[in-house]
């Protein structure tokens, strides 16, 4: 912390101490609109953008930095794998965002962040000055975390942990699994995007196999963890709908993934070797997106510590980190969490830049998982800031003995949430 303060003072010393403080509180030029740069056009970045636009009267000069022209939601993409969604309905165009008042979309990569000068430098060379920076780059995959796997190998052994081409590739590979074929899923170590995601995915794979009549195909999940989110609900669902199909093995049983060989579709664990798998889905260790790490906003865990009372980076009060890249305390990394953090961050940014009172933040999350048609379960909670972190205040979890009606309602609730969130992002 002291090093950070020193760096901050060094960077602003030439302005004089009084002016330095003033500069943090309000934009440099009072007559100009405050400049907000948002890196990353997922739920975190786009909900900040939406909230600032909704603040009205073209109050901010907002630039979204997003390399892609289209966004395929990673959330809900398991349902595409199961055949419950079309990829087209999960894909949205940034063209609509660019038409919002006061918003510019830069379809480029953020190359570096100059935090001393408060500028984002794009790969194309443009420099974007900011009064507040919103860092929402999501996750990067640690390709080195699974020996034998690589960025090149993701064509053979897809991760599909970012929405888009990888999701389509995994879907086509599931469709190509022969009856009697073996699917191996390598689950990630915590913390990672979407804690119940691997297990919902296994459910959707099993559903796809079942509806295709491939009753002899099997799914093995090699997990570095000893337990997982909604475990009891998932395992009861697997027993009910897919008996004998999904085998979940914790680290203590498989002894760890030693290596994979994409050429022979082999996975070697400490205990045994799975050779000639029909499909290997590698979901590797994850970190905050590259730009957040290179901007010096991460700690030793490779994610960004934040002040839970503001969502501002603990490394730099002019930078706000929302979504999967931040350390969300008791919240999981989810699209719901990202949007919740984004609303909180936007309210703080608005207060800081337009002179309003500091808002008291609160957060919420729900993660839904579909186990089979019309059988959805959920976990979630309400959260509030504390000195150390975002802290859980209350929690809920689907019951194991719920009626089919409740599970169907839960599914309908998830669909309504998806519609609302994507509308807030893209309409």
């Amino acid at each position: 912390m002291s090093a950070t303060r020193r760096d901050f003072l060094k960077g602003t010393a030439m302005l004089g101490a009084g002016l330095a403080t003033a500069r943090l509180a309000t934009p440099a030029l009072a007559q100009a609109k405050p400049k907000v740069v948002i890196i990353g056009g997922g739920p975190g970045g786009l909900i900040v953008l939406r909230e600032l636009v909704n603040a009205g009267a073209n109050a901010f000069d907002i630039t979204l930095v997003e390399a892609q022209r289209q966004y395929t939601t990673c959330f809900y993409s398991n349902l595409y794998l199961g055949g419950f969604q079309r990829i087209e309905t999960l894909t949205f165009d940034y063209g609509i965002v660019a038409k919002l008042p006061g918003v510019t979309v830069a379809h480029d990569l953020a190359a570096t962040v100059d935090r001393q000068r408060r500028e984002v430098v794009l790969q194309g060379g443009a420099r974007l000055p900011y009064d507040r920076l919103v860092m929402a780059p999501g996750i990067d995959l640690d390709y080195g975390s699974v020996p034998g796997w690589s960025a090149a190998a993701e064509e053979r052994m897809p991760h599909a942990w970012k929405g888009g081409a990888q999701t389509r590739l995994l879907k086509s590979q599931i469709e190509a699994v022969p009856d009697g074929g073996l699917i191996v899923m390598i689950a990630p170590p915590a913390p990672y995007r979407c804690p119940p995601g691997p297990y919902e995915r296994a459910s959707m794979m099993a559903w796809a196999l079942k509806t295709a009549g491939k009753s002899k195909a099997r799914i093995v999940i090699l997990d570095p963890k000893e337990r997982f989110s909604k475990q009891g609900l998932f395992q009861a669902g697997w027993e009910k709908y897919y008996p004998g199909v999904i085998e979940w093995l914790p680290q203590s049983i498989h002894g760890g993934v030693q290596s994979v060989d994409p050429a022979t579709m082999t996975v070697v664990t400490g205990f045994e070797t799975y050779a000639g798998a029909a499909l290997v889905n590698v979901i590797p260790r994850q970190t905050a997106g590259r730009i957040a790490r290179e901007a010096g906003l991460t700690n030793g865990d490779n994610y960004c510590p934040i002040d839970a009372f503001t969502m501002a980076s603990r490394m730099d009060p002019a930078v706000f980190v929302v979504g999967d890249a931040c350390i969300p305390g008791d919240m999981p990394k989810s699209a719901f969490s990202a949007a919740s953090q984004a609303r909180a961050a936007a309210s703080v940014i608005r207060a800081e830049l337009t002179g309003g009172a500091k808002p008291a933040l609160e957060f919420a999350n729900t993660c839904w998982s579909l186990i089979a048609a019309d059988d959805s379960v959920k976990i979630g909670g309400a959260y509030a800031p504390s000195e150390a972190k975002i802290t859980e205040r209350s929690a809920f979890l689907s019951k194991p003995d719920e009626s089919a009606e409740v599970r169907r309602d839960t599914y309908a609730e998830s669909a309504a949430w998806y519609g609302e969130l994507t509308a807030a992002m893209f309409l």
Partner: protein, 109 residues
């Protein structure tokens, strides 16, 4: 079955006279009987007492387990490939209930 009670890792075939490594793991809590729950009540002992392996009808490995053995007992041993035959792995708990796994070893050459 979401959880397999036992897992065996060994080659499907071996040359006559070859030393074959066999890994066997059974999923079991191995509750010692010395612990108490969060209300201070003793947690009853629940352990596997013995593990034996026969190969073509003949015992090639055997051990006794006691409360000091950790959960999910994992055993690696070797045997000499003599003839094509079935290996039968038997874990017996303190109540006499057995978990049995079978694997065929084909001996060539």
């Amino acid at each position: 079955m979401a959880l397999a009670p036992a897992r065996i890792s060994m080659p499907a075939e071996a040359k006559k006279g070859e030393i074959v490594e066999i890994k066997a793991l059974v999923r079991h809590v191995m509750e010692t009987g010395y612990r108490t729950d969060n209300r201070g009540q003793p947690i009853p002992r629940d352990i596997i007492k013995s593990f034996t392996v026969t190969y073509a009808g003949e015992e090639v490995f055997g051990m006794e387990l006691n409360p000091g053995v950790s959960a999910n007992p994992y055993v690696i041993f070797t045997t000499v490939a003599t003839e094509t035959g079935e290996l039968v792995f038997t874990w017996t708990d303190q109540k006499g209930a057995a978990t049995v796994e079978r694997k065929l070893l084909a001996v060539v050459g």
